[in-house]
């Protein structure tokens, strides 16, 4: 699992951390059942506050990507890959949008319209 955070960026650290880990789950560099480093370990490794890591982990838990268990740390949940088919679909849509020179703003507007 490759995690990167940039304290100089405007995006909050916990958000960067969560999106890094989410990306690792989506590209399968971590798989279901794998244990993530403990919040304390990851915090000291990245030189950031442990509560920042915990906040990112909690967000990922709410999205169903990981399970948090007392004493066992964070584990990639079995349901983490349920977004795989969605990700494949989005990949196809984005490729189609690029081919037709559709901007990101227009694409999101189209998706928002459809989602209603």
């Amino acid at each position: 699992m490759l995690v990167r955070v940039d304290p100089a960026s405007e995006t909050p650290l916990f958000e960067q951390l969560a999106s890094s880990i989410r990306q690792s789950v989506i590209d399968k560099s971590v798989t279901a059942g794998e244990r993530l480093p403990s919040a304390r370990e990851l915090a000291s490794s990245l030189g950031i506050n442990m509560h920042t890591v915990l906040r990112a982990y909690q967000e990922l838990r709410d999205e169903g990507f990981i399970e948090l268990r007392r004493g066992r740390g964070a584990i990639v949940s079995a349901t983490a890959h349920r977004y795989d088919s969605l990700a494949d679909g989005i990949e196809a849509i984005v490729a189609e949008a690029r081919a037709q020179d559709v901007s990101l703003a227009l694409l999101t507007a189209l998706i928002r319209e459809e989602y209603k």
Partner: protein, 334 residues
């Protein structure tokens, strides 16, 4: 039945001929001749014959047939194993040194077993009872020397071993501000096939120790301590934790030991390489290879390879070696 046509290079074809002749035909011929000679001696031999010697002379007995059959069976099994393993050859159609060792060992085993068994029968010819058979220490030493010489000869008959050189793909640091921090962690395990073989070997070792504990507890200490060290080493090799961050590359066995760290300022460059454990390192585990190369070699395939500032190389096989290489290159840049 026709087999699908196989596109085999001429070099591999000639090597296969050598594999069959040196690794299978010659060892089998040696044991067959030995068996034939021993069979001729049968009328002159006591029944049963001595087959095992202790400190005070013979202490194990069996039939002549048993002594004749054992070298044949072991040679047949080992020669088949050596031929099957080396049949595919190295990627360029040559032989790996692991293949050469197997073929030479096939010759070694055949000669050793044939000389020991025929020698042990030779000294029992004309005896009333096998109890009075003389010492076979001299035969053992002679057998070992002859077998080693013929194995060396077999080794020299084989072509020079093909060395596998993997092409390294250098890793570039992640683009981003100097303030960015990276963390990479993964666990990497011994491949399932290797685990099965290792577990089988360890179970056999455990059984041998258990038998020793029942039959001869007095001489248990040395084999037991060696056995426990071997088992501990094997278990510590099974699974490793790899962490890369601003403190460098840390690799740690799941048991906590052995472990190693390479600090960022010791890193010259990082690359992704394709590793062939048998061909390049002669096996699995924490391995050393010629040319200042060492590493945790657990499976065939991708590995992250670090070239240190002192020129030595260290690698770890893993899934997602690309991610690890990029992370370490980013850390080392600073």
């Amino acid at each position: 039945m026709t087999l699908p046509a196989e596109n085999v290079s001429p070099r591999l074809t000639s090597n296969r001929r050598l594999i069959v002749v040196i690794g299978v035909v010659i060892p089998l011929l040696i044991t067959l001749v030995g068996s034939f000679v021993m069979a001729l001696w049968t009328p002159e031999l006591p029944n049963p014959v001595a087959s095992h010697w202790g400190v005070n002379g013979p202490d194990g007995f069996t039939t002549v047939g048993g002594v004749i059959a054992l070298p044949l069976l072991i040679t047949l099994a080992f020669a088949a194993f050596a031929a099957i393993v080396s049949w595919k050859g190295a990627p360029q159609g040559g032989l790996l040194w692991a293949h050469k060792i197997l073929i030479a060992t096939s010759v070694f085993l055949a000669v050793l077993l044939t000389v020991v068994s025929s020698g042990s029968l030779a000294i029992q010819r004309g005896l009333e009872s096998a109890e009075s058979a003389g010492d076979i220490g001299g035969i053992m030493v002679a057998a070992f020397v002859i077998a080693a010489l013929l194995a060396l000869f077999a080794w020299l008959m084989l072509p020079a071993a093909e060395l596998i050189t993997s092409s390294a793909v250098a890793a570039e640091p992640i683009e981003g501000s100097d303030a960015q921090r990276v963390h990479f962690s993964t666990s990497t395990r011994l491949g399932p096939g290797v685990v099965v073989i290792a577990v089988a070997a360890l179970v056999a070792l455990g059984l041998a120790l258990a038998i020793q504990a029942f039959t001869n507890p007095a001489e248990l200490l040395l084999p037991a301590s060696i056995g426990i060290i071997v088992i501990a080493l094997a278990v510590s090799t099974l699974s490793w934790r790899v962490t890369i961050d601003r403190r460098g590359l840390r690799v740690r066995s799941a048991m906590g030991w052995p472990r190693t760290t390479i600090a960022p300022d010791q890193v010259q460059s990082v690359a992704v390489v394709d590793v062939n454990p048998i061909g390049e390192f002669g096996g699995y585990g924490w391995r050393w290879a010629p040319g200042g190369r060492s590493g945790i070699v657990l499976s065939k395939g991708e590995a992250v390879e670090v070239t240190r500032t002192n020129g030595k190389k260290f690698l770890v096989t893993m899934h997602d070696a690309k991610g690890a290489a990029v992370a370490l290159a980013t850390v080392a840049k600073k």
